[in-house]
């Protein structure tokens, strides 16, 4: 029982989607409280479903736990149960610390109040005396880097600014556990890196983390343990690297199910036109593979000639599309974008299998492992048709080292890119 910070046992929560019944149940539940019973009824009432079902987990000091699952898998409900906003229908949550901070994508701040007011509110909400807050407030503002805007209402801030402020406030509170709900999605790259770096530091110093994210790569870079939720149930809990494979499998099964349960062609056409009207066609193109072929060497090396190919299955015909491959470092910062479909060059896609290829003459990457995301979108409004490498299996590009004097010097001075020039 060493250093356990959080334990949940058979945690379950039922919800009702029918608003009328839900209202009735809410009144029943409030009145039930007065009957002073030890457990609510175990069964589902009419119209109810288990939003979280029998989840048991544990978080120790210094550990980080990732939560992943498709939309509606119960991640947010589980978080709301953990922080005590919702009451469990069954089971129990035990916290062995009260220094818990939750950051959601709204950053937990009040949009109507100014930045400065939010600093005071947040800190006093966590029990910091006013005098201490006044002593710290300048430092917090400097740390956030938004001094010029600190007396404007938070609603006028960008997501990044909001997060920056939240982040400076929460750092001051030194929690034992940070609960982060997709907050990393906002903010610019520089900020994301700063935040990632902060969280790693925080973990190294013995802090604990519960992180909800749709992006396996973020979980991989920050969490030791991962819990996959599927329809409110624990699908798998274990080491992140092992568990994520199961997640990819689960997502694959779901994608196949989706294809198998698709409508007959005649109805599909109707549905397509309906989607067209709304301009929403995401998922109409499935990128099945991204092929990387070195052309002048047995493997991909710095300076190689490399062919990138995107192979996809399309359910629609579409003119004027753009295709791209985004190359990211393992720490999720963006490194390069291979972008096709601009100016007078435009691509179109046809129903069935499509190939797009791109040739890079001198690959300017240093040896290492890079994460790839491939996408296909409309050119006019950039709305997406298909995406690979974000919520499914991550794709990697391995750039191997080889003996070359210029490359070795570059490695020696740790350059970010490799630029093979022609000297005369």
């Amino acid at each position: 029982m060493e250093n356990i910070l959080l334990e949940t046992r058979n945690l379950s929560k039922r919800f009702c989607r029918d608003p009328r019944l839900a209202q009735k149940y809410t009144i029943e539940d409030i009145l039930w409280e007065f009957r002073r019973q030890s457990e609510q009824s175990d069964s589902l009432r009419k119209g109810e479903f288990w939003a979280v079902n029998n989840v048991s987990l544990q978080l120790k000091a210094g550990e980080s736990l990732g939560l992943i699952g498709h939309n509606g898998s119960g991640k947010s409900t589980l978080l709301n149960l953990l922080i005590g906003i919702l009451r469990p229908t069954r089971g129990e949550i035990r916290w062995y610390t009260d220094r818990i901070i939750m950051i959601d994508n709204q950053s937990g701040l009040n949009p109507v109040q100014t930045g400065r007011e939010n600093i005071y509110n947040k800190l006093s909400m966590h029990g910091m005396p006013l005098k201490e807050i006044s002593e710290n407030v300048d430092e917090i503002i400097d740390h956030s880097g938004i001094r010029d805007f600190i007396d404007s209402p938070l609603g006028t801030y960008s997501t990044g600014m909001r997060l920056r402020l939240a982040f400076s406030i929460y750092t001051r509170l030194c929690p034992d556990v940070f609960i982060i709900d997709e907050a990393l999605g906002g903010g610019d790259i520089k900020f994301r890196e700063k935040f990632n770096h902060f969280l790693r530091n925080y973990l190294e110093n013995g802090g604990s983390l519960i992180l909800v994210s749709h992006e396996p790569i973020i979980l991989q870079s920050l969490c030791d343990q991962c819990l996959i939720l599927d329809h409110g149930k624990e699908y798998r809990l274990g080491k992140t690297s092992e568990v994520l494979f199961d997640y990819y499998e689960l997502m694959q099964i779901k994608a196949e199910d989706q294809i198998n349960t698709q409508l007959p062609l005649s109805q599909q056409a109707n549905q397509t036109s309906l989607f067209n009207q709304q301009g929403y066609q995401f998922g109409m193109v499935q990128i099945t593979e991204v092929k990387i072929t070195p052309l002048d060497a047995p493997e991909v090396r710095p300076g190689s000639q490399v062919k990138f190919e995107i192979i996809c299955e399309s359910q629609i015909d579409k003119e004027n599309i753009e295709v791209y491959i985004l190359v990211r470092r393992s720490d999720t910062s963006h490194l390069a974008l291979l972008y096709g479909g601009y100016g007078d060059r435009s691509y179109s896609i046809k129903v069935g299998t499509n190939h797009f290829s791109c040739l890079v003459e001198n690959l300017p990457f240093m040896p290492g492992r890079y994460n790839l995301i491939a996408g296909i979108s409309h050119m006019e409004n950039h709305s997406m048709l298909g995406l690979k490498g974000v919520t499914d299996v991550p794709m990697y590009l391995e750039v191997k080292s080889f003996h070359h004097p210029a490359l070795q010097v570059c490695q020696g001075v740790q350059t970010s890119i490799y630029l093979p020039g022609q000297w005369h």
Partner: protein, 299 residues
């Protein structure tokens, strides 16, 4: 980042810290362990004070931030009503007051007390719906929201005091030394309003029908309470006044301030504990219902 993090002085995670859970959220009825429920409520109440202060100051500032006349508006409505009543009631309406005091004084005191009551009631009745967008995301002690509301009601009363004093001076009514007790009467009025508001707040947040229904309430209260018309035996509304707990603090304030007669003075000593119980009961009921109100707002 490393620097700022190293400033944190984390308490060492010793054994005593670990073996007893500091927070337990379970499926048991919250009232099963009544002692624990009250203990947690008390703990949250003490923790809520600094935030309540902040919210109170901000709400007051926000209320007057966007008006060029600022705090002037805090007492202008009451002053206008006072002037209208004074000018409008040239003729003495029979039975409007008792004890030989100008009926205008009776009416103005009545209106200001009623305003204080209704503001306190509406403030608390609306607080869950008003702050639900924050409550569904963060664990905020609702006590701070309730206390801030009480503070605002008290502030409004203080801002109306000059109007009451001006009325007494204008009509040459000499206040009695017991006038110093009048704020106690106002406190009872605020507590009754807040208590009723808190009992209604969850229902108000749960159902639009209830919200619409409750908007009628002020009119009902005006009719059932001695605001303009004094209660004297023989009137058909006398019995109604008798069963309305608001009657007693209203009468007490008038009696303490300038010696207006009261119907049944001992009843006040029943109403004072009743108002405290109503306020505490309303608070605990909101605490109990909060997770369910949040659940409904999430779906």
């Amino acid at each position: 980042m490393a620097n700022s993090d190293s400033q944190c002085e984390k308490p060492s995670l010793n054994d005593s810290h670990l073996h007893t859970p500091l927070i337990i959220y379970s499926a048991r009825s919250q009232l099963l362990g009544r002692k624990a429920f009250l203990k947690n409520a008390w703990k949250d109440l003490t923790l809520a004070v600094p935030l309540a202060k902040r919210l109170f100051l901000q709400n007051i500032a926000q209320r007057y931030r966007y008006s060029s006349l600022g705090l002037f508006w805090a007492f202008v409505p009451s002053a206008l009503i006072a002037i209208l009543l004074t000018v409008g009631q040239r003729a003495n309406i029979p039975g409007i007051s008792d004890g030989g005091f100008p009926p205008q004084v009776y009416g103005i005191f009545g209106v200001i007390m009623m305003q204080t009551f209704l503001e306190s009631l509406i403030n608390q009745r609306m607080f869950l719906s008003q702050y639900i967008h924050l409550l569904i995301r963060q664990k905020i002690p609702i006590e701070s929201l309730i206390l801030a509301g009480l503070g605002e009601a008290a502030f409004s009363f203080i801002m109306r005091l000059p109007v009451l004093i001006a009325v007494l001076i204008f009509f040459n009514v000499i206040p009695k030394p017991t006038a110093l007790l009048a704020p106690l009467g106002f406190a009872v009025i605020i507590a009754l309003g807040a208590g009723a508001g808190l009992l209604l707040a969850p229902w108000n947040a749960l159902s639009k029908d209830v919200e619409s229904l409750l908007q009628f309430m002020p009119w009902l209260f005006f009719g059932l309470t001695p605001v303009f018309v004094a209660a004297s035996p023989g009137n058909w509304y006398y019995k109604m006044f008798l069963i309305n707990p608001l009657t007693y603090p209203f009468e007490a304030v008038r009696s303490w301030t300038y010696g207006a007669p009261m119907i049944y003075p001992p009843a006040l000593w029943l109403v004072i504990p009743l108002s405290v119980m109503l306020l505490l009961g309303g608070w605990l009921f909101c605490r109990l219902s909060l997770p369910y109100v949040i659940e409904r707002s999430l779906n």
